[in-house]
Amino acid sequence: MLVVKEYEAMIEAYGKAGGNLNALTNNEVGNLLIHKNRVLRANGVEGIRVETEETETGVKVHFLMEEGMKIEHPVHLCFGVLPKDGLQDITLKIEAQADSEVAMVAHCIFPNAVDVTHKMDAAIKIGDNAKFSYHETHYHGEFGGIKVIPKARIEVGRKGVWESTFSLIQGRVGVLDYDFEIFGDEKSINELMVKVFGKEEDDISIVEKIHLNGRGARGLAKSRLVLNDNAKAMVRGETYGNAPFARGHVDCLEIVNGDGVIARAIPLVYVNNKQAKVTHEAAIGSIDKKQMQTLMARGLNEEAAVDVIVKGILR
């Protein structure tokens, strides 16, 4: 595929997936567009440096948010593989220096995947008092022939903030092996959220680990899954309260909406300091009967009621 055509095809797919085209192509906004192992666009703005290196199977990316810089507009990222098969291996290094503030919005697009693997290995360091939010949304096709393997190790400094959302609710999941681990320093805020809609034979594994290592660190590992047909899911939410006044919570909800579904959840709460507190709640079950009856009493049929409930949970 010629680079220009590749660029145009990715832009078109990004637009179809609901991405903000203006933001992805705007020189005033930080953005990065990668198809397979090719960097089609990389634009830094004042306060953000972006370095990329293409490898045989993917791209190495280094983002540096400079100290004290508050980035007004979210940085837009787009990763994708448009052909039916391929491997995309992204190595991501993010450094948000002290007192910086930025939001990143990533779209991952695999509309035709029959045999595609998308891997992301991220090493992320959030400096003292820095604030970083990362929202990743996937758009998959209906074939289910995709493996998504996002792994991240995140260190959050004193009074730093990390908030991330991983959302895979459009198209078939395929195989998902999500593994994020955070280490939070004093008074840091560490939040992970995963939303997945599994269908047919999708196979989902989610690991969210939060280590609250600093005094007064706070953490939330939240997951919302809806499973139809024969989808399988395993969710491990782990929070470790290792310091005084650390507060953590693990919250997992899996809605089982198919005869062949297998849903599992293993919350782990661990405390080794008498002044720390970690709680958890995990619920696996069918759609709540009372919610169904309430919506049906407002005139919705059963199918429409399920749709409203599921969309709400995955929103």
Binding site: Q293, M296, R298, G299, E302, G312
Partner: protein, 238 residues
């Protein structure tokens, strides 16, 4: 408009609803007063169709709806506000009021104002655990109003709420009546049924007395609140 005839429902051999007869007239607020365990919620569920009776019939606008589904009844114009309303993660109040109806913003705002909720602060909030009990009940009433029902069954709308919410709830019910809906106002609080045109008293799954609100409230106070048989198994209310 809504006639309940010889309704019976048993659970493990114990009668929950026992030969119950009741009529709710078009555009009227009908109070249903009873102590805990009298069968109020069981009756509400039977009318809405979340459970089916063992015997008897429910007639709505001269049509037997005893075996109709919840959705069918709702689409005929019957709805129910539960005593403990469900909470919905990710569903905004505006979406909840609208659902599959094309409710305009001004209509949604109007329904919220009717129950004393400022729309600007609340329309985009989720119908989830972040709402207090009173707020959630007011939103529930607003959602019933938005449906413009022919019959609204309100199961204990006045229970478990804060003093701020109560007058707004009562105002919402009165407004519902003014807008032409018949209301079956279910409560154990005789003060709440003062806004009704007629009151029936339920005990042990049957209607034991009916009449004007003032008279029935006094009767309820004198008889039911001091009744030594409350809670006795198989007490038949006579």
């Amino acid at each position: 408009m809504l006639e309940i005839k010889h309704l019976k429902l048993t659970l493990n051999g114990n009668p929950l609803i026992n030969e119950l007869n009741l009529e709710v007239k078009e555009g009227k607020i009908h109070g249903l007063l009873g102590v805990n365990g009298a069968g109020k919620t069981s009756l509400a569920n039977l009318i809405m169709g979340t459970t089916y009776p063992d015997e008897g019939s429910i007639i709505f606008e001269e049509q037997d709806i005893t075996r109709c589904t919840i959705s069918e009844r709702a689409n005929m114009g019957i709805t129910l506000a539960w005593q403990e309303p469900a909470r919905f993660e990710g569903l905004s109040i505006r979406e909840y009021l609208s659902l599959d109806r094309n409710l305009s913003l001004s209509e949604a705002e109007n329904y919220l104002w009717t129950v004393g909720i400022p729309p600007g602060e609340y329309l985009n909030r989720a119908v989830d655990g972040s709402l207090s009990g009173g707020e959630r009940k007011r939103v529930e009433l607003a959602s019933v109003l938005a449906m413009k029902p022919k019959v609204a069954i309100l199961d204990e709308p006045d229970s478990g709420i804060d003093v701020v919410s109560l007058p707004h709830i009562m105002n919402g019910i009165v407004e519902m009546g003014k807008r032409g809906s018949a209301v079956l106002l279910i409560t154990h609080n005789e003060g709440a049924v003062s806004i009704s045109e007629e009151v029936s008293i339920i005990c042990a799954g049957k209607i034991i007395n009916s009449g004007p609100p003032q008279e029935m409230c006094q009767w309820f106070k004198n008889n039911c609140q001091t009744c030594p048989h409350i809670g006795e198994p198989n007490y038949n209310g006579v």
